[in-house]
């Protein structure tokens, strides 16, 4: 096993850890949302009192539950793809197609990250908020977009490097690290 391969494996391991932490942020928001809604409903039904801004923040929470886990979902093989052709091709062709998919990922998600950063930035600088009983900052929700897409882009970049390495026999790193085999990494 070459040096570059070892380093790459280390980077992959580190990124798995980081994406997992990010996904845990989403899990935290999911528990928080459950608690918020249940409390809001209980308060409304029993005491005729709602939590100010609870309903309005649900959209924002929905974004915070799912976007942080975009990269984690790639590592754990959740993102859906067609394997009809690639399964039947010789390995080299499969590797070439993987390169292509990663390249598309880097470009499209890179573009999304760039605009998402401005989307958040403008909102933050202008102090955007939602007109509810309390002022809910809109940028708090938009912040998750560059975070989610940014880490997702970086992971696709890593995947591209691995794919290219595999294609040109620089190293052989199993695609399973990116959940391509459909196996779930715990």
């Amino acid at each position: 096993m070459g040096d570059s391969e070892t380093i790459t494996l280390k980077i992959i391991a580190a990124s798995q850890k980081i994406t997992r932490y990010l996904a845990m942020v989403g899990v935290g928001f999911m528990f928080f949302t459950t608690a918020l809604v249940v409390t809001d409903v209980t308060g409304r039904y029993l005491f005729g009192k709602s939590i100010p801004g609870a309903t309005e923040s649900l959209g924002l929470l929905s974004a915070w539950i799912s976007f942080p886990a975009l990269a984690w979902a790639l590592i754990t093989g959740h993102h859906v793809r067609v394997t009809l052709i690639s399964q039947r091709l010789p390995e080299k062709y499969t590797q070439a197609l993987d390169c292509l998919a990663s390249l598309v990922g880097v470009f499209a998600l890179g573009m999304m990250t760039y605009f998402a950063a401005m989307f958040f930035g403008e909102s933050f600088l202008k102090g955007e908020f939602m007109m509810a009983r309390i002022n809910i900052p809109l940028w708090l929700g938009k912040l998750v977009l560059p975070i989610g897409f940014g880490t997702f882009t970086l992971l696709f970049l890593l995947r591209l490097i691995v794919n290219v390495g595999n294609l040109f026999n620089v190293g052989q790193i199993p695609n399973a690290l990116f959940g391509e085999s459909g196996q779930i990494v715990d």
Partner: protein, 440 residues
């Protein structure tokens, strides 16, 4: 290049990317971005896409997706799912195909709780499909049932799609919701009949004789087993009672469903309960990320097709041809079926209805009758390739050995049943118009 040419090229590029194994959501997003760059330029394309990606996800009703998925995953882990199918097997296991039929009706019943087809598909693909396979069901059929029957829930109130249809077409939300109930049940019956026919023609597809062993239980054992399902009763009473008793909205119900399963896990999970919760939580956010990424990609791609003006051009062409009402309905069904291959349901409505509604009115077609037929055609799009959102949602939670193609193939018989249901509804308008006429 003309916008329509760019639109057609975009569809071809999308199919190519999908076949080459680019992740589905990514392909939709990339083609949408690129197409819009060609139509409007780099900056407008990026801003339009970002707004779409954010608001396709940051919407309060969509909070039900992660919460119900979480509920489904916890039900699977806690052994509740296998208990359900064990009991169903004891009661009706001796009838071939019974588990499949039970799944179809469970999906229909779950429609009372949620207004989203993708949620139903994702929940049942976790709860039911692995169980059906344990009883010997073919994997394609097992997952095909879940992805297809998930679509029935959209015809049973509450339904996001029907509310949006009624609003865009200026119809009564209440009448429209009631009008879709019988067609929804018709679809459930047809799906069940389809499963029974498959079971009769090819017993191996539904586990042959394997499930019959379960049926040997005594009556005493059968009734005793019903007690096993107490968490289901608790869940059903709280969720359905809560919604229809006016305690919470269908959106809020998802949080209660999640809470109940969290409590059950904490009570029955033993020492590993916190570990189970966090592991299932991680699986939930990964599944939600997958579903939302597809929703975002589909939204961006749909804006591109919208801006390329393909649909209005085709529709205006058809409006000018002077068809009779029945032919017009059939042609519109065909158009929705074709659009359903590439677009999500809500995008289809917002592209077509503003142009279509005045034409339907002018032709003197009962708008609710027309609407329910179109909803049916639109729902069929959830299981057709290449963009079949229910199939994607199912695949996202499926067992590792199941491919996307498997689920598309497994859904194909149900697509044919959609094609049978639609002419039945066209021929017998009473199936749609009877209830709303009676209740209002």
């Amino acid at each position: 290049m003309e916008p329509i040419t760019i639109g057609v090229a975009g569809i071809v590029l999308l199919i190519l990317m999908l076949v080459m194994g680019v992740h589905v959501a990514l392909a939709l997003m990339a083609v949408g971005l690129l197409g819009n760059v060609l139509l409007m330029g780099f900056n407008p394309s990026g801003w339009l896409a970002t707004g779409q990606a954010y608001y396709a996800v940051a919407t309060s009703v969509l909070i039900t997706i992660p919460l119900f998925v979480f509920m489904g995953i916890l039900a699977g882990i806690s052994g509740l799912s296998s208990d359900i199918y064990k009991v169903i097997g004891m009661w009706v296991g001796r009838f071939r195909g019974a588990l499949g039929v039970a799944t179809v009706f469970s999906c229909t019943a779950f429609g009372v709780v949620t207004g989203s087809s993708m949620v139903t598909a994702a929940v049942f693909a976790q709860v039911s499909a692995p169980e059906m396979r344990r009883y010997g069901y073919d994997k394609r059929l097992a997952y095909g049932i879940c992805s297809s029957a998930g679509a029935i829930g959209m015809l049973i109130p509450p339904s996001i799609l029907i509310i949006i249809y009624a609003l865009l077409a200026e119809l009564s939300v209440g009448k429209m919701l009631i009008a879709a109930v019988v067609p929804g049940l018709l679809l459930a019956l047809l799906f069940s009949a389809g499963i029974l026919i498959i079971a009769w023609l090819k017993p191996a597809m539904v586990g042959g004789v394997a499930s019959i062993a379960q049926a040997k239980a005594t009556w005493r054992e059968r009734f005793a087993a019903l007690l096993l399902l107490w968490p289901i009763y608790v869940c059903a009473v709280i969720i359905i009672g809560g919604i229809y008793g006016g305690i919470f909205s269908p959106t809020e119900a998802a949080a209660w469903g999640a809470l109940i399963l969290i409590i059950i896990t904490l009570v029955t999970g033993g020492q590993k309960r916190w570990h189970i919760l966090s592991k299932c939580g991680l699986q939930t956010v990964a599944t939600s990320a997958m579903i939302f990424f597809i929703l975002a990609g589909a939204a961006i791609f749909a804006r591109f097709l919208m801006l390329s003006q393909i649909t209005p051009s085709v529709m205006k062409l058809i409006f000018g041809m002077g068809f009779s009402p029945v032919h017009f309905i059939l042609i519109m069904v065909l158009i929705y079926l074709v659009m359903g291959c590439f677009l999500d349901s809500i995008s289809m409505l917002s592209i077509t209805l503003p142009i279509l509604t005045p034409v339907v009115k002018a032709m003197g077609i009962d708008p609710i009758y027309f609407g329910v037929i179109m909803i049916m055609a639109i729902e069929a799009g959830l299981i057709t390739p290449p963009v079949g959102l229910n199939v994607y949602a199912t695949k996202g939670v499926a067992e590792p050995d199941v491919t996307l193609e498997d689920i598309f193939i497994g859904s194909a018989p149900f697509f044919i049943l959609f094609l049978i249901a639609i002419p039945i509804l066209i021929a017998f308008p009473g199936l749609i118009t009877f209830l709303p006429a009676r209740l209002f």
